[in-house]
Symmetry: C2
Subunit: 410 residues, 2 copies
Amino acid sequence: MSRQCPIAVNGREYQWPRRPVVVTCLDGSSFEYLFHAAAAGVAPFLRSLLKNGFVRAAESAIPSFTNPNNLSIVTGVPPSRHGIAGNFFLDRETNRAVMMNDPCFLRAETIPAAFARAGAKVVIITAKEKLRRLLSAGLDGLCVSAENEGQPVYSSILSEHVLRRGAELMASTAPDLMYLSTSDYVQHLFPPGSSEANQFYAAIDEQLAHLDRSGATLVITADHGMSAKTDPDGRPRIIFLQQLLDAWLGTGNTRVILPITDPYVAHHGSLGSFACIYLEDRSLTAEIVPRLSSLPGLDLVLEHDIACRQFELPEDRTGDIIVCANHETVLGTHPHEHDLSVLRSPLRSHGGLAEREVPILFNRRIRLPSQVKRFKNYDAFWFALNCADDKSDSVRLAGSGEGKGPEMTI
Amino acid sequence: MSRQCPIAVNGREYQWPRRPVVVTCLDGSSFEYLFHAAAAGVAPFLRSLLKNGFVRAAESAIPSFTNPNNLSIVTGVPPSRHGIAGNFFLDRETNRAVMMNDPCFLRAETIPAAFARAGAKVVIITAKEKLRRLLSAGLDGLCVSAENEGQPVYSSILSEHVLRRGAELMASTAPDLMYLSTSDYVQHLFPPGSSEANQFYAAIDEQLAHLDRSGATLVITADHGMSAKTDPDGRPRIIFLQQLLDAWLGTGNTRVILPITDPYVAHHGSLGSFACIYLEDRSLTAEIVPRLSSLPGLDLVLEHDIACRQFELPEDRTGDIIVCANHETVLGTHPHEHDLSVLRSPLRSHGGLAEREVPILFNRRIRLPSQVKRFKNYDAFWFALNCADDKSDSVRLAGSGEGKGPEMTI
């Protein structure tokens, strides 16, 4: 295949990059984190993108969790197509919760894998090993995790390492396509504008600026936002769904699955704002949906078919009812199944509609087809490969610089 | 003249607006003020523009003062063409400092005046009366100042009134073209992110959102930025230029003009970061320029011809030498000519290169001609009338809204 031919992946076409393309997924990075870092003056490169770049609010996939969104971004399609709708789903035949961290659960090809097969040099770097396995599916290229390279998981260093490695590899080997994905350790602990968050974005900013200076077309987006899920005293607001359903309907009639559950509990204690309810008897749907809908703290209670259509979810990995808690509320199963002592600060989490909005920033002009009205984070590669004006300079060089006035030519 | 014909003003062509166009000059509003207000969550409309609008860092005219920039914006040309290079210049024949607040000093037609003559309904609202007089030059349309309408000059209310009146008039009479210009009272007193500044931008934001909802194409820019001109203890850093020159060369050989000087001294005590030096004997230039250039605290010392070329200044209203102080320094004449007791807070001012960068934000898509590389605030009307996609929705409606998820169609 000629390097000039567009590559088709999951029914979408992608142009061969004329300069390196780097898509960066900054885990848990809402606009608030970026605005605060820009306002504090600690992130000059992100600030220049906010001022001169192509910037849009984009929608992430629901549930607004890490894996569904990372896989959406690398495949260019929603969870209904690639199959990864969370960390867990219920296997109805065995009635067991199945973890979807293995590549065998992935139903779509990744864009990096398709380009690598066509001869492109591709690099993927993730923070955590669990995600690396999924992202490496079918990939003939470098795919490493900072965790596997010995970096501490519960630390901002993990994410910084991802970007530093990316910038180093870009400088040394100039791959055609790069995907960098960080961890939301910092965002789970610290709110936008906190010194810890600003310090993190300062370090990230430095590496992003390196990538920009390398001449790459750079896209920065996120998998989801992050909200404080607490009352005014800092105590978590939790709706224990399984406990509630058991009290209403008796034990054993429903099974609540929290797809945020993963081995890294210290981030969130398995508490997020999205849950699936599986029913022994689906006819209970008509009773449960309105009853749950009247609860305070919930944004949305939808039955399976409507949820799958509305949010492009895979039918066989979505509960009979899905529940989204609101911006200040999370969903649990039973109190005894969540060890809140692991939380090291007031709970911050995600998964619902309030964390759906994410930034998407480009370091080059984007020639936008007129039919494009809404932005999805999983269009990141599509915009970068098909719409970026790769003859234009980086926006870092645009405008009048950092208030320094014109370059003096006299 | 048909309403469809483009209007030529000062050698540039402007399309007739298909929907109302509002250009807003937020006096003294650097990006920092906007980023902080967005990060604090108090300015949802400005936040939506930063996220989804067409946003660029633009250059303001030097000196980065109010009148040169307001007149540049309404005429679409730099001070070299419209003549207003500050509040004062030295009349070499009479050796008197002449105030340029009268319309007779304006050498170019304004865009609103040209459109009004062609039959457009035009409205101009300014904060202060001094500027209103200049902006009303040749205008067959409504031109009012908040000051003249009885609003207190030393108050944030003055600016809020400008925008509120604008939003009311847009709702009631839907003029074709509107220019709104606020005062920098708040910015001279309070830094970005202070509660006072955020409160001001919250009030401004509300009115801007009204204007946006009216369906107008809205441009938001500024005349200049604003910097703290103090040492770490909050004392003003002032270079008293006249005192210095008199000490070097003897009294009467030089005349320092501070074009920021105006009747509203409480804002800045006539201390800005730009000064003109007029010489009895122009051959002194060669001696003074290098001597001044070696002073700490100055960004730039340029002789007349170079300054006029570099900054597009009017030759007959520019000193033999122009001086720009740096981001933390202002220029005075003699200590006894500046009453620092009028300052009500640590000095914040403008006039130099550090305050040159201003934001320019649009509420609609901009179809940018490929040759446009740099943005001037005085291109505001040109972009709004010639490049805005006035068939597109306001960006307020774009993206996924304020984290509320999709509109539910079920």
